[in-house]
């Protein structure tokens, strides 16, 4: 990780809008140069957290510390943060180059044109410097917005769902590019998204938010494979909710004993959250299951199987769909990977 970034700490932040608690004691620490993605459903407080860090919203209580300094009372224009917005935010009356120069000129930085041109080069849009925003595509506009935010060499980079207005292909390309540039410049970055694939692909750590708090903050792999709570397991990726029975430090589901990601509090009858990719389906004329539906998704296929009165979704490789026609008798097996339990919280 690049060491040029600064540490950021959001300490016990509270924010209410009317009767809604957007932030309810949020605590979050970003290490220098780290990219953290805040992921969560609409209204969970992720954008509010970012806007409080940017200074665009005032917190009711709590502190914002950047590089050890308390910036809670500082207005947005004195916080030294670059931000890319969900909506296209380039100034329509300025060219791409002039947009990138804007912050540099305000700060009285030397050689603003040269620096702005460098930044456009970094995002691969040097030849579009003279174009106005309405002459650029959505993806190009967001890249210019990224160049503009980075040009001022901000202490912290804030990305507020910058890819959500773009089409799927451009989104994937741009997210890889943002990650490359962020790694290159090493700016501490907070990225807000409701797209789990984006969060898992880009972030060093992912914070899954719910009702104004962080439910789990961990590496993308841990969030996906070892969800701390049923909410995280349910929100990140697909999960089968299968009945199981607690036995010691594991749970038995469809005859297979599975380890738990965290110790169980209740029991013995529980609901286990099992990922479709942990479920295997094999054709078997004596098998207890029957294929109800099958969807081809390209590299993978999704098969829904009825086992007794239980529906189980399995993910298999795309090519195996031919051996699992609808109505075929099958056997269902679950791989012994750690699972979370639905505690109803």
């Amino acid at each position: 990780m690049n060491e040029s970034g600064v540490a950021v700490r959001l300490k016990d932040l509270h924010k209410t809008f009317g009767s809604t608690h957007a932030l309810d004691g949020l605590d979050l620490t970003l290490e220098p140069g780290e990219l953290i993605a805040l992921l969560g459903p609409s209204g969970c407080g992720k954008t509010t957290a970012l806007r409080v860090l940017a200074g665009l919203e005032d917190a009711d209580a709590g502190q914002v510390l950047v590089d050890g300094k308390d910036v809670t009372a500082l207005p947005a224009n004195r916080r030294d943060m670059g931000m890319v917005f969900q909506a296209y935010s380039l100034f329509p009356h300025l060219t791409a180059l002039a947009n990138v120069e804007f912050g540099l000129r305000l700060r009285g930085r030397p050689r603003p044109v040269g620096r702005a041109a460098e930044m456009l080069e970094l995002v691969g849009l040097a030849e579009f410097a003279g174009r106005y925003p309405h002459q650029l595509s959505g993806g190009q506009q967001q890249r210019v917005a990224l160049a503009r935010a980075l040009a001022i060499r901000p202490q912290v980079l804030l990305l507020d769902e910058p890819l959500s207005a773009l089409d799927a292909k451009v989104r994937v390309q741009l997210r890889d590019e943002i990650k490359r540039i962020q790694t290159e410049v090493g700016t501490t970055t907070l990225f807000v998204t409701h797209d789990q694939e984006e969060a898992l692909a880009m972030a060093d750590r992912v914070g899954v938010m719910r009702a104004g708090r962080i439910e789990q903050l961990a590496s993308p792999a841990d969030v996906y494979q070892k969800p701390a709570t049923a909410f995280v397991a349910d929100f990140v990726g697909l999960s089968n909710r299968l009945p199981g029975r607690l036995e010691g430090d594991g749970v038995t589901v469809l005859g297979t004993r599975l380890p738990l990601v965290s110790p169980a509090g209740a029991g013995p009858d529980v609901t286990a959250l099992v990922r479709p990719e942990s479920v295997d389906v094999r054709p078997d004329s004596d098998g207890p299951g029957r294929v109800l539906a099958a969807s081809f998704l390209g590299p993978t296929s999704r098969v829904t199987v009825e086992v007794g009165d239980q529906l189980v979704v399995a993910q298999v490789t795309g090519g195996r769909l031919a051996e699992l026609p609808v109505g075929a008798p099958v056997r269902v097996e679950i791989r012994p990977v750690p699972v979370a339990l639905d505690t109803g919280a």
């Binding site: 329509p92 309405h134 650029l136 890249r143 503009r148």
Partner: protein
């Protein structure tokens, strides 16, 4: 079937032309009559109107009225912009819940007849005269109220066309203070709306008679009214000139509204190279 359709199309076309002709005659006939009336002396009236020093000498009240009206138009435009533009922007960015109220206040003068407005303004103008004197330029205050509905509509339409909040937040995050946000980010993007508001103001002020007359001030319309009693030809010529000026201003306004921003002809969005 085709013949029936052709007959119907012909009838509709004939109806459209008939309506256009009737309306054209209705609007143009008085203007043509004015031109005919003012050119009976071989164009001497228009030559005098175009010769400002001679006009001032011959009709000093008229020239004073023209000067007063131009001053009122300029000052009213300035005061309206200074009051309305920052207010409209601030309400959009920081006080969106006040928007309906501000809109209501700005549209209110539209519902009050000028004569009623004068009754209310008369005691206020007693104080204005006491503090600022009886200059016709003091009508600026009354006219600023009068133009609020039109100017507010124009500026609000301009602000609706851009995402003011996001642009302001983007500028703030880049280090801009509120003054910079307004002056360098929002204002350049509502330039044509501001110009529209200013043109409407000028057109309205140049055509105003009731308030000026009842508050015993002068402007071009009051001067024309007086002139009508002594020189009908000149008063009609000045009326026509004022009408043409207002027409040119409105034409400029619609041209500005229809014009695309600089550079739009370089490449439409659909052909912009997608390299994202």
């Amino acid at each position: 079937m085709a013949g029936l359709r052709a007959r119907r199309a012909r009838r509709q076309r004939a109806f459209r032309w008939a309506v256009l002709l009737v309306l054209g005659v209705f609007f143009l006939l008085p203007l043509v009559a004015m031109v005919e009336f003012t050119t009976r002396d071989g164009g001497g009236t228009w030559r005098l109107l175009a010769d400002w020093p001679r006009l001032s000498e011959t009709y000093p009240d008229l020239s004073a009225g023209v000067v007063a009206s131009l001053g009122q138009a300029a000052l009213t435009s300035l005061l309206m912009l200074v009051l309305l533009v920052p207010t409209a922007i601030w309400v959009r960015i920081r006080l969106p819940w006040l928007r309906r109220f501000v809109e209501f206040i700005c549209l209110l003068p539209l519902t009050i007849p000028a004569i009623v407005l004068v009754v209310g303004l008369a005691p206020v103008y007693a104080w204005v005269t006491y503090f600022l004197g009886g200059s016709s330029l003091t009508l600026t205050f009354a006219y600023t109220i009068l133009v609020l509905p039109y100017a507010y509509r124009a500026i609000d339409a301009g602000l609706s066309a851009i995402d003011v909040r996001t642009l302001a937040e983007a500028a703030r995050s880049l280090g801009a203070g509120w003054a910079t946000v307004m002056w360098r980010v929002v204002l350049p993007n509502i330039r044509s709306a501001v110009l529209s508001a200013a043109f409407l103001t000028v057109a309205l002020v140049l055509g105003e008679f009731t308030i000026a007359s009842l508050l015993n001030r002068t402007n071009v319309q009051v001067a024309i009214n007086f002139l009508g009693k002594s020189s009908a030809t000149m008063s009609v010529a000045v009326s026509l000139a004022a009408l043409l000026l207002a027409f040119v201003l409105l034409l400029l306004l619609s041209l500005l509204g229809g014009r695309r921003r600089d550079g739009s002809e370089v490449a439409p969005l659909s052909t912009a190279k997608e390299s994202a």
